[in-house]
Amino acid sequence: MSIRQGLLALLAQEPMYGARLRSEFEDRTGGTWPLNVGQVYTTLTRLERDGLVEVSGRPDAEGRIAYRLTDAGRAEVTRWWSTPVDRDSTPRDELAIKLALAVTVPGVDVQRVVQTQRTATLRHLQDLTRLKSRNDPAGVPRHELAWQLVLENLVYAAEGEVRWLDHVEASLARAAVGRREETRQRDVREADRGDGADASAEGHPGTSEGGREAHGIPATSRRRRR
């Protein structure tokens, strides 16, 4: 599953120790997929065994060991970002986790991640539609109807995924516009400061959550817990 990929993606940002990886992972995915520290350390041990991470420096004052990516680990992260989620072997949640991390880990071309996935999902949808087109919906026997309905279920899921990806893309575009506007307003305020205006009293929305808002995730949804 994607814990492994998720931890690698986080370590691409900077070396971290287990407890911090756990809190970063939960924080960025809105606490929707809670991890326990044991899972994190087991995964780290396997990643180390597989040569994807290594211990980074000495333990800190509290005895915590930080891990960092090896070159092979970095290559694995790059591969994860650049390939679509494998529908056969992983639960769909991996896509949501992947996007949650993509918008928070610096340096990821999120738009590209979205587009790569959308193309793959559309291709999947084309395959389903080809299967569907072999049958005429009118006058099919009952077992054929059941098969058609199962196909439709898969079609709806794929369609929903594409619509969600469209939404992600639109949200990113809106967030980018918001960031530009924020910068512009700050510049205006700084210019006003010379006139004795109290810039801090304006209480600009969004700045209290700082970088989080800037990544396009509303603070409220990120705090959602089960």
Binding site: P106, T119, Q126, A158
Partner: protein, 246 residues
């Protein structure tokens, strides 16, 4: 048909379309290349403002590119007079829009026969071709009905019949299922797919993934640029040109 075997019926070669100039210049399409072969259905997807409609207008010879070439059935649109272009459109290209496709005062058969009659084909022969075309989309029995006596899905079928009447082989469809419920929309797509399987060529603009999925290829447009296509699977190196990580 004048198109030689295997030659694309519609070809856009590095097409750009710029509206206005100077400070108000808008790049509606940039360097778009696209082919629709015989028997092929190609879908174009993209957010509003991505250039889908501009692409369709260029493909149908309703608009001309700022740079690049549009070839319909092997003929470069740029080399044609206004009159020559109108004739090419009439003979080769049919449009299907979201709604209001049919002329309300004409029956289904008269609507479908119209492009032929405008082209000088005799009434009797035009009607025979129209009936044949209506039959090919499964609405032969509606020939003498007026648009208001038909359902939305039936009207769209008649519009497809008109788009592909006589020798016409290229249908350009702009959200043809936009006004229909999902079942009816799907039946219209099935008809379009079937006509392409029988040798027509189609370019379909839609924002619905489930409809685009009936196409052989899906092209994604964003800000006037083709960002991806479901044609051949993308090469890994192509995807890796943007560094991830820090």
């Amino acid at each position: 048909m004048s198109a030689s075997a295997g030659a694309p019926l519609l070809e856009l070669i590095r097409v750009s379309r710029v509206h206005g100039e100077g400070a108000t210049e808008v790049h509606a399409l940039t360097d778009v290349s696209l082919q629709v072969g015989v028997g092929e259905l190609v879908a174009v997807m993209g957010p509003s403002g991505s250039g889908k409609s501009t692409l369709l207008n260029l493909a149908g010879g309703l608009d001309r590119p700022t740079t690049g070439q549009v070839r319909i059935d092997g003929r470069d649109v740029a080399g044609l007079s206004h009159r020559g272009l109108a004739e090419l459109r009439r003979r080769k290209v049919g449009f299907v829009f979201q709604d209001l496709n049919l002329i309300p005062s004409l029956t289904a058969a008269e609507n479908a026969a119209l492009p032929l009659e405008l082209d000088g084909v005799g009434v009797r022969q035009a009607r025979a071709s129209a009936l044949e075309s209506l039959g090919s989309v499964g609405v032969a029995e509606l020939a003498d009905r007026f648009p208001e006596e038909m359902s939305g899905g039936q009207q769209q079928r008649v519009a497809i019949a008109r788009a592909l009447v006589g020798e016409r082989r290229l249908v350009l469809a702009d959200e043809p299922t936009g006004a229909l419920d999902s079942h009816t929309g799907e039946s219209v797509l099935r008809v379009l797919r079937a006509r392409c399987d029988e040798g027509a060529s189609g370019l379909l603009v839609t924002h619905e993934a489930r409809h685009a999925a009936w196409a052989d290829r899906v092209v994604f447009l964003r800000d006037g640029v083709v960002v991806d296509t479901t044609g051949a699977p993308p090469a890994a190196e192509e995807l890796l040109d943007h560094p991830s990580g820090v």
